[in-house]
Symmetry: C2
Subunit: 297 residues, 2 copies
DNA sequence: ATGGGTTGATAGATATCTTCTATCGATGAT
DNA sequence: ATCATCGATAGAAGATATCTATCAACCCAT
């Protein structure tokens, strides 16, 4: 039965019978039959079909909610029993927004020292995708903004606060300043993240409320790409202080605090709002609580 | 998979492979094989066996906890989907302590008017058994004391407060009084519930703290039996005011308030502490919240 | 000790269910 | 009109599950 519920989960994320079947490691007829069997047991159609997947019926959506929960619980149970025998082991799947990638190591490093048998898989995703992956049980935890856009069915542990810096060459127009305003930043051609990233939306909002407009010369979904452009000394960007520090800058590049307003965004760990958590996730939450005071600033 | 978890639940309540199998509607080898399969999947022994059932291993106890949850959720899901189609229908299973039996009708009657397709099964059990039945998913809700002995993993809705009366013939020693003390009651030969009932333990405690001792002439686990003895005019008992009122007394029998101390016990509805509840249970909780103010006194 | 009763495990046969491959019909795009 | 895509269906092969029958260990009483 639980495996049929996994079919529903796969179908929800793939929205396609064939692909859903593939991710479940079965053929498409098998998945079709599984869904159909669920429908017979429930006595209701769960999926609207018309020669292709057309979403879930209202009943299907409720079953989907339950499936998330039941499948999640059954995995947590297995993990818990496993931990009782072999200590903490398995794989911790994590997704972080690009601007937070640099600080993930502050979490994984002490974690690994305590639990050397846990392996990590870490995805770089935008904040919406992080929540989707969490919903679909494809990751155990996410790292994203915790106080802006709605989070949904998760609980969170604040980790640190993001302060913004103008990264620019020392000999560029604003290069000699000790601080700049958002209004001034709005005048500079910038390299920014793509608009699907919440960081970009935050910066757009700040620029707009300072009377400016966001007209980035260059967009990318990769911080590495933005950073490598800035390093040439010919481009400028707005980045969180923490990532600028981590990446390290040449002498010729300056990271100038942006004030007026002094904008701050909290980044935190998000985990499914369900008790109990898997032991692997619980240990990550504990670690997050431990390191948060050291990171904050 | 879920059906195997049901085997674990059945085994926990029956503590016997054969009987557990029977309640699951399978043969004993089938249940044995199911448990064994779970053990193989988990990689741990779940049940201590030595030619007979000897309880669960620590891992087995964890699996049992998860099984309660997962099986409960899967039933709730089915019920919820069913309610979406057919409105509220199915069976509401309830257990109440004997002293509360008389007031169950105050709950079931308005419930039935709103949801005529729901059928009821109502057990009379002691307070400990009520909680066990709840744990084992054998009932949807219980009615018992909510503030004395520990309740465990349940949430509760207070329903009314139990006040005690001495039921005795008008021409018996204390029969002409308007109120009596617990110390006085302790001198009277009483008909009381058996000591496995929390009501009896409460009364024993009250008698003892008034310097008396509990030496009931007659014990029974049935309120009907106690009541029928009192009605003869030759026996006395201590009962909650509510049940005395409901049963109705002859002219010759008086229900005398017992004061010093004026002892009060809260009775409430208890349901599994898990969200969401089955629609049938949720409706009962709503009903309980509605009628509680009218009952309290 | 010993025999009867009880308990859970095991063996083997049968039935059921599951999953696969192959193919079809419907739909939508070009 | 043609082609490609998608999900449903049919049929066969394989895997599982469940049953009956029986066994071995154990408990208890004599």
């Amino acid at each position: 039965m639980i495996d049929k519920l996994e079919f529903i989960l796969a179908l929800a994320r793939e929205r396609h019978f064939g692909r859903a079947a593939e991710t479940c490691g079965v053929t498409q007829p098998t998945l079709s039959a599984g869904v159909k069997q669920l429908e017979e047991q429930m006595g209701v159609l769960l999926v609207n079909r018309g020669s292709r997947f057309q979403g879930f019926t209202p009943e299907g959506q409720r079953v989907l909610e339950w499936a998330r929960r039941i499948v999640g619980d059954s995995r947590t149970m297995r993990e818990e029993i496993n931990s009782l025998r072999h200590g903490l082991s398995g794989r911790l799947r994590l997704a972080a927004i690009p601007t937070a990638l640099a600080m993930v190591a502050a979490l994984t490093t002490p974690y690994r020292e305590k639990h050397p048998n846990v392996q990590f898989t870490i995805y770089s995703r935008n904040s919406i995708e992080v929540l989707e992956l969490l919903d679909n049980l494809e990751i155990d935890a996410g790292i994203t903004y915790v106080e802006n856009e709605p989070l949904g069915r998760v609980s969170n542990v604040p980790l640190y606060r993001e302060h913004y810096r103008l990264l620019t060459s020392a000999d560029a127009p604003l290069g000699n300043r000790d601080s700049v305003s958002w209004a001034e930043v709005a005048q500079v051609p910038l390299c920014l993240l793509t608009p699907d990233m919440q960081n970009r939306r935050i910066i757009d909002r700040l620029l707009k409320s300072a009377g400016g407009e966001s007209r980035p010369t260059l967009e990318s979904d990769s911080m590495i790409l933005l950073y490598s452009h800035v390093r040439t000394g010919r481009w400028a960007s707005v980045m969180p202080a923490k990532i600028a520090d981590t990446l390290g800058l040449t002498d010729a590049i300056r990271a100038i605090p942006i004030i007026q307003p002094e904008a701050v965004q909290t980044i935190g760990l998000v985990v499914p709002a369900r008790e109990p958590m898997t032991p692997i996730t619980a240990a990550l939450v504990a670690e997050a609580r431990r390191v948060a005071p050291q990171l904050s600033g």
